[in-house]
């Protein structure tokens, strides 16, 4: 088996502005995707990512690590994979991310925690 990561991209705000019916279609599509994956392999982890305005990008420039705000969408680089990590804060995540190969651009994105629906 090989492991694959799927990153989802959509227009900012489209979820917020979607009607309830459209949201049900989204849920149904995600559900169908997950059923297909479950039938043919297994899901290791998945989560919605917070918006690109919460991203931090690292690059090795001239022997030091440069840290900047935002994603690396304007470059030719494509997201190639993800590590799902639990770390105390962004500084720790930056220190960890800086250890990855220097040819990588590493995007650190906070994961949205969805509270379980309480008793109705």
């Amino acid at each position: 088996m090989r492991r694959y990561v799927v990153l989802v991209a959509y227009e900012p705000g489209s979820w917020e502005s979607a009607s309830e019916a459209t949201r049900q279609e989204y849920f149904a599509a995600h559900h169908a995707f997950e059923e297909y994956v479950d039938a043919h392999g297994r899901r290791i982890s998945s989560a919605p990512l917070a918006g690109a305005d919460t991203a931090t990008t690292l690059r090795h420039v001239g022997g030091t690590v440069s840290v900047t705000d935002g994603p690396f969408v304007e470059s030719a680089e494509q997201v190639g994979g993800y590590y799902d990590l639990e770390l105390p804060d962004l500084d720790t995540a930056i220190a960890a991310g800086a250890l990855l190969p220097a040819s990588y651009a590493v995007e650190i994105r906070p994961v949205v925690t969805i509270a379980p629906a309480g008793p109705v």
């Binding site: 931090t56 840290v67 705000d69 804060d89 906070p110």
Partner: protein, 420 residues
């Protein structure tokens, strides 16, 4: 004779805002509540102090009032069963925060450093970090931040809000990082402060040439950092640089509101005390050792400013030394504007012909400055036709009213026409 309550309040807000913010953050970890609570406390003080008299310990009064506001909000939220995301701190910090409440001292300074490092974190967009640091560390109003950066007040407010949201969502900690990371982070602090400082001197498209009072706030931020970390080279070098540049603020604009060039400035209006302080900083042992490129570039720029500051008259400026400084600066950070400034220095040191040669390959898209310098040098060489064309080019590209007026006047002098 006691001071009027309004003056006491203004002083305590100016001097203690950052410490109060950092104490409240250490205790409550709620970035979204703390600033509003403190602003409310100041508003309450403004109502009550003039009537009741200023309290003996004004900072403690504000802290207590702000704590009550935070607690009220937290109670209201817990009634509504809401949970807001908290700033990342650790238990130890929170205990320190509690201890500092009782006995302000060194621990408070640690919290203030945490606040400065959080606001200027490199993961924040520079203009947001700059606005946030001015707001949270110095208590500068959103109105003044907007004026400084030449943006609308809603835009300035949005930058601050965006930065706060990212801090909480991305988990930027309210903490002092590992020792090996601190020097780099202090460079981010310096860059953030310098961005705010240069915003005050960057001519925009309007008539407001110098927002010098607000540039002074950026220097105050640098002073806070130098106070917290006196052995860090980048902030010390930046303090020297900004003091030297700022020392000329009164002479930069004439009584008619127009730009006065360095050579024409009344040097008696330069702030000698600030120049002396900057020169002392440049001689300090902190800057004697090996420096990072950023710190070294601040030192070199400060030495250029110091050459001007110490020349008794424009004619006695050591332009040869200034050219050498620019040569060094270009090896550290090559930039078109540094090459332009070097060409000006070369022209002063070796004549317009050499200056034009140094200027030949300099291009700054969208800026009128290269054309303006070329016009001046062509004019000095006696090429009236070429100079007129270059002035026309510069005037067409210039977006600042005051600077354009100056260029129009120069062109009129050259062609003998009436500037009106």
């Amino acid at each position: 004779m006691t001071e009027p309550a309004e003056i006491v309040l203004e002083t305590v807000v100016r001097e203690e805002w950052g410490r109060l913010t950092s104490l409240l953050l250490a205790q409550y970890r709620r970035l979204d509540l703390v600033e509003d609570a403190l602003a409310d406390a100041v508003a309450a003080a403004l109502r009550r102090w003039p009537a009741d008299g200023a309290p003996d310990r004004p900072a403690a009064w504000l802290l207590t009032a702000a704590r009550r506001r935070v607690i009220d909000r937290l109670r209201a939220e817990s009634m509504a069963q809401r949970k807001a995301p908290l700033l990342v701190t650790d238990a130890e910090h929170r205990q320190e925060g509690q201890a500092a409440m009782a006995d302000p001292g060194g621990l408070v300074e640690d919290d203030l450093l945490r606040l400065v490092l959080m606001c200027t974190h490199p993961a924040l967009a520079p203009e947001s970090a700059s606005a946030l640091a001015l707001r949270l560390v110095l208590g500068v109003s959103t109105h003044d931040i907007a004026r400084l950066f030449l943006v609308s007040e809603p835009t300035a407010a949005a930058r601050i809000t965006r930065a706060k949201k990212k801090i909480v969502a991305a988990g930027i900690p309210f903490a002092v990082p590992a020792a090996d990371v601190v020097p780099l982070r202090l460079e981010s602090v310096a860059q953030t402060a310098y961005l705010a400082f240069t915003a005050g001197y960057t001519p925009g498209s309007g008539p407001d040439l110098v927002r010098a009072d607000l540039a002074g706030e950026a220097i105050r931020l640098v002073r806070v950092v130098v106070g917290l970390c006196p052995d860090a080279p980048a902030p010390v070098a930046l303090l020297a640089l900004t003091l030297l540049q700022h020392s000329r603020r009164d002479a930069r604009v004439g009584d008619d509101g127009r730009l006065v060039l360095l050579a024409d400035q009344d040097r008696r209006r330069w702030r000698r005390d600030e120049i002396d302080q900057a020169l002392a900083l440049l001689d300090s042992p902190v800057l004697a050792g090996p420096l990072s490129p950023l710190a070294a570039s601040y030192v070199v720029q400060a030495r250029i400013a110091a050459e001007h500051a110490t020349a008794a008259t424009p004619g006695r400026t050591r332009w040869d030394r200034i050219v050498e400084h620019y040569d060094l600066l270009l090896t550290l950070f090559p930039s078109p504007s540094a090459r332009l400034a070097r060409a000006v220095a070369v022209a002063e040191a070796s004549g317009p012909e050499a200056g034009l040669a140094a200027l030949a390959a300099v291009e700054i898209p969208g800026s009128h400055r290269v054309a303006a310098v070329r016009a001046e040098l062509l004019s000095r060489r006696g090429d009236t036709l070429g100079a007129s064309a270059a002035y026309e080019e510069a005037i067409a590209a210039c977006r600042n009213d005051t600077e354009r007026a100056h260029l129009v006047e120069r062109l009129a002098e050259l062609t003998g026409a009436d500037p009106a």
